[in-house]
């Protein structure tokens, strides 16, 4: 080929690179490995700590059972190795699947429309607030401190340079819900959006109707963030919200140490033209057959450039497909049954863990889904050590983000945690060494 295109050597093709910048040595990276060596390398990395353990960690990343067919289907090359469906005639498979995803998300959240995905729940929340700014033309935001701390950090990063001051509202110490009085006081006619999470970071379900009333009274939009999508199986959807942003990881997506996950934004119909991200719409072909296309792209960066609603291009399509398959597997009845199992497991865990003398539940004043905050007299570091002996990872220490919540830990029990492990955890928690 070189010869045919009239090049003497491959370096001719790189002659345009100024000599002084050409790399004349090998890159200092590991030598080329055989496939078997690569697999071995990652097996060893994975084996550094056993996975055959039980974890009570949640806090925005949830381990649910992943039906087998999800991976069987998303690994089909036709899905795995295609890209954004720019050419509708040969990407109808991806397009129809996204259309089905948009519909399912809308059905679950009680919104009219949903987009094709955002990076994750945290960026989704930030984009949702900026969307509210575009819709209202206002430039202030109010949010609850019970929104996932890392979501709040991301929001801060996004809003910092947009002249968008934000106010954070604390929580009621008995319910763990947002302090409504403080909220009422903070929302003004300047407020573009009120952002809350429900179930919130403590696992507590917020009083959405009351919050909506406060926001709407002042003409602000209510943005509800949902970090645990499975909750929608049993928890009333935030229908009073104007925009719902959600992390869909619980819908059949592996924990994978934090990503890739799948954010979504759903909203009331009238706000669709201010939505960020891709949207798939139904249409017909020249012969009158139904087909699907990417639509309303005048919102997007490749057309609108600096005036786009967002700079997002590559999204989380394959992960959204996983969620679509997951939701099809569980379906109307399954998603509720699954949510009920999570509720039951977590109720049981809360009961047995708080049974001992040295432990008590926080925020029991309001309903919750499958997470709860436990206060222990003993320093968590101490019982964490005991639990590890049993190959159990206990609840997450909250003082990392909430200094006022010393010795408080956030526990999550999904359907996959066996009762025996819960009982062992309770036993170990109660087993405070005498000298302590």
């Amino acid at each position: 080929m070189l010869h045919e295109i009239g090049a003497a050597s491959i370096d001719d093709l790189f002659a345009i690179i100024p000599e002084e910048y050409r790399l004349t040595r090998d890159l200092a990276i590991p030598r080329q490995m055989g496939e078997s060596e690569i697999v071995e390398w990652f097996r060893n990395a994975a084996a550094k700590y056993t996975i055959r353990h039980t974890s009570f960690l949640g806090a925005g990343a949830y381990r649910h059972y992943r039906p087998v067919i999800i991976d069987s289907l998303v690994q089909r090359g036709e899905f795995l190795t295609s890209y954004t469906p720019y050419q509708a005639e040969i990407t109808q498979g991806t397009l129809q699947a996204i259309f089905e995803f948009q519909t399912m998300i809308a059905e679950l959240t009680g919104m009219d429309v949903a987009n094709a995905s955002m990076y994750d729940g945290s960026t989704g929340a930030a984009e949702a607030v900026m969307m509210a700014v575009r819709v209202t033309g206002r430039h202030r935001a109010v949010l609850a401190s019970t929104v996932h701390p890392e979501y709040r950090e991301v929001l801060a990063t996004y809003t910092k340079h947009q002249g968008l001051p934000t106010t954070t509202i604390g929580y009621d110490d008995t319910t763990g819900r947002i302090d409504l009085a403080a909220l009422e006081a903070a929302v003004t006619s300047e407020t573009a959006a009120v952002l809350v999470q429900s179930p919130n970071f403590f696992g507590v379900i917020e009083d959405i109707p009351a919050i909506a009333a406060i926001a709407h009274k002042k003409g602000a939009l209510l943005v509800v963030s949902i970090a645990e999508a499975i909750s929608l199986g049993i928890v009333r959807p935030p229908v009073e919200a104007d925009i719902v942003t959600m992390e869909a990881q619980s819908f059949g997506v592996a924990l994978s140490y934090g990503g890739p996950y799948c954010g979504v934004i759903a909203a009331k119909e009238q706000y669709v033209r201010q939505m960020p991200g891709r949207l798939v719409g139904q249409t017909t072909d020249r012969n009158g057959y139904r087909g699907f296309v990417l639509t309303l792209s005048t919102r997007e960066q490749h057309i609108r450039r600096e005036k786009a609603t967002s700079n997002i291009c590559t999204n989380q399509a394959l992960v959204a497909l996983m969620a679509t398959i997951f939701l099809t597997v569980y379906g109307k009845e399954g998603i509720r049954e699954l949510a009920e199992h999570n509720l039951a497991k977590s109720e049981y865990t809360a009961r047995v863990l708080s049974a001992g003398p040295g432990a008590r539940l926080r925020f029991s004043g309001a309903p919750r889904f499958h997470e709860f905050v436990l206060h222990t007299d003993e320093d968590p570091a101490a019982w964490h050590r005991r639990l590890r002996e049993e190959k159990i990872v206990g609840g997450l220490e909250l003082d990392r983000w909430y200094p006022e919540l010393k010795n408080a830990t956030l526990w999550c029990t999904t359907e996959i945690v066996p009762r025996e492990k819960i009982d062992i955890a309770a036993r170990e928690l109660a087993a405070v060494p005498v000298e302590a």
Binding site: Q32, N44, T81, T84, I90, E306, V319, L321, R336
Partner: protein, 511 residues
Amino acid sequence: MSDVLTPEVPGTVPARKSRTLGKVRPHQTQNEALVFEKSSPGKKAYRLAQLDVPKVDAAALLGENVRTESAGLPELSEIEIIRHFTRLSTWNYAIDLGMYPLGSCTMKYNPRVNELVARIEGLAEAHPYRPDHLAQGQLDVVDLLQQCLLEITGMDAITLQPAAGAHGEFTGILLTRAWHESQGNPRRTILIPDSAHGTNPATAAICGYSVENLKSNGQGGIDLEALASAVNENTAALMLTNPSTIGVFENQIHKIAEILHAKGALLYMDGANMNALCGKTRPGDFGVDVMHLNLHKTFSTPHGGGGPGCGPVACKAFLEPFLPIPVLVKDANGEKRWNYDRPQSVGRVRAFFGNFGMFVRALAYILANGPDGLRQTTEDAVLNANYIRHKLQDLYDLPYKTASMHEVVFSDRKQAKSGVRTGDIAKRLIDYGFHPYTVSFPLIVQGALMIEPTESESREELDLFIDAMRQIAREVEENPQVVLDAPHSTRVSRLDETTAARKPILRWRKA
């Protein structure tokens, strides 16, 4: 004959009957309805494990917060679900089926070993809040990938947190801004060549900068005079794609860097085209201050129908203090951990640590290649692009004659004379069994045909593609209508995008 299967022939609008037999359609293009239309009450594809704790009364526990009516999700049996998505998949074109020369997107082969290692239970099931000392294996992956990417780019520090290229741009420009602020003035504008990808200006805007467009010069590159006169104390940075979106390497790159640095502005490099440079030259060596990479392009993590991706940002030492939190550090005892205590950090751009699953895949790719493999890959990618350029330049207009790197951009000038535009040629290419090139981007080329073969394509496949492009050129001369009506071989013909946008139908609703 209406009940014999006769796919439509251009010009004739067939009765529905002619593409379906009664209710059914041959399996390769099954008449697959929406999943909601296939639903019927009571069907189940799931079975939960037996509940080993007492049942609870949800209504009692949740009060008015309980969901009273179930979401309208479909109800199907498992086999129906398998068939639904299997059939849908057969309507997709994919790298696994043939060449996918979508310019700028680097549609290279996605090794299956990447998928295997990403699913190793210990990696796939690790919770992001697992204590660091129980996550040393995960941190090994992060650490080695960071080291490799730093060596490949020649930069000093890196974050893997961004979820895609555009997210990386956002992060990179935030670093720029934070640094300028630390110098006392965030500055006001970002310079962006008119050849840039749409995400560049969109990103600048989100970061609170105004965008100043730079007109490209005759070679489609940066016009140094124009640049010099544009750069001033208000210029925060230039966002440069190198090689450019027309596949040309900026051989003035060092001068560009000097002009910027002289005025205290930074050089941001959009690394989407890094696959043209790996192992041959390093941005860190030719003056780039900060850049992003697209692991899903350069390092073969699959595109998955639109994502997920991963857009690490690498920078020079002076920008390191501003990296998003957390950053990976090694303790004296060699134990790795996340450090959150970074007062100057721009903050977080995403929850947790980024698309870890993509780190695993990209690292697997790097290990599978090694130093020689990465260099070879770059050379093959560039060779393939030049081969296509050489074989098509007599029939298609080449607006910029500068040497091509990993992709070649033609224009439809010649074909436009017969009323055929780049979009039409693209549709006809489908009939020939290929995914089209990138259509009408970059904007500096009227009716652009942006072709990126990648290193994955064999000479045999390239020749088939060239053969197809040449025949289409001939068809444009002899029978343009055939091209204008393309594609003829697909399940659906051209779709009505106007109506789709005018009266958006974005979800299914029960009739």
